[in-house]
Symmetry: C2
DNA sequence: GTTAGTGCAAACCTTTTGCAGCTCT
DNA sequence: AGAGCTGCAAAAGGTTTGCACTAAC
């Protein structure tokens, strides 16, 4: 969703467009990555040093409630925080490599089909949907294969193989 | 996954089957609901008052890492905690009513199709997958329709319509 | 001029960690 | 016996809340 149409949606609801919100909206929309609240805060603070972390949380909540952004957790790769993206283009699934952290987006017909089937099967009215998938990307599959070989060759060494734990321990954010 | 096969899987990895783990495993498996850590702790404490909350978290982490249970968040209906279920039967999607909180499970072909397509499209190796959907169940759709009518008829009253916020404020757990 | 929004500090909930002592195998 | 677990206390991470002040409409 383009920032302009977001602004429109907000104005309609009598929500004020403050300097801080304009800034945050712009950052969320421009950023290619999936930002979490803290990262968004850091980026915003770089442009407006007085902006407070709390404002970030409040703005995200507002946008979420308005259905203007979607909340993800990317299979908790990187910790328990949430990630945000504007509700642009079509519905898509997020595909996260548990080894390198790369995130791919999958568009495509099975998603629409799934949505339709759920709606008709339960007579359900879907407002939010989210598919997240974790595993190994093609690149990391070969790396892992090589590591396993290595490990087999030197059975004594303490190889700290990058194992997926599906829930990396608390992300120490770089200071 | 039946508790016995879970125990087997654990034993193979040299994981000890303590009294506490047996208890927790049993509770997770028997419970029809999706339990969060705190609820599981309360149930366990009822049977073993000395059991500590930390043990619940450690056990859940263990099971998660072993791929024996899946972690859900049910669209954060009810707060930010995680819910757990044994990895039984087939892959399924969770369908959460944002008004009444009911959770349905959807099995069915589009899920397998989606999985296959993602694997082949990206050459990805999927280990974990999760589809969660939020909206209104058929029952709540009619209730909501009635509420809207009501609101239209008495335009002055402050109707606290049950709006979905997609992220209910912090769950005050009943003491 | 109102009312909504901001910043600040402090709380809150959920989850993890360090460590001494206990217990499965 | 000894690695692995548990309980306890304390901390950490992420997010929300109360309140006085400020700014958008």
């Amino acid at each position: 969703m383009a920032p302009d149409s977001i602004k429109g949606s907000l104005r309609e609801k009598g929500v004020r467009l403050t300097r801080q919100r304009e800034l945050l909206l712009g950052l969320i929309d421009k950023s290619g990555e999936h930002l979490d609240a803290e990262r968004l805060f850091q980026l915003a603070k770089a442009q407006d040093p007085k902006l407070n972390r709390v404002t970030v949380y409040r703005t995200l909540k507002l946008l979420k409630q308005g259905g203007l952004v979607d909340e993800l957790d990317l299979m908790h790769y990187g910790g328990d925080q949430h990630y945000y993206e504007t509700r642009m283009k079509q519905e898509h699934a997020h595909v996260i490599c548990l080894r390198c952290g790369k995130v791919e987006e999958f568009f495509g017909e099975p998603l629409q089909r799934l949505r339709r089937q759920i709606e008709s099967h339960f007579g359900f009215h879907i407002l939010l949907a989210r598919t997240e998938v974790g595993g190994y990307c093609s690149h990391c599959q070969s790396l892992r294969a090589r590591e396993m070989e290595q490990a087999a060759r030197e059975p004594d060494a303490q190889h700290a193989l990058a194992e997926p734990d599906g829930h990396r321990s608390r992300a120490k954010r770089p200071a």
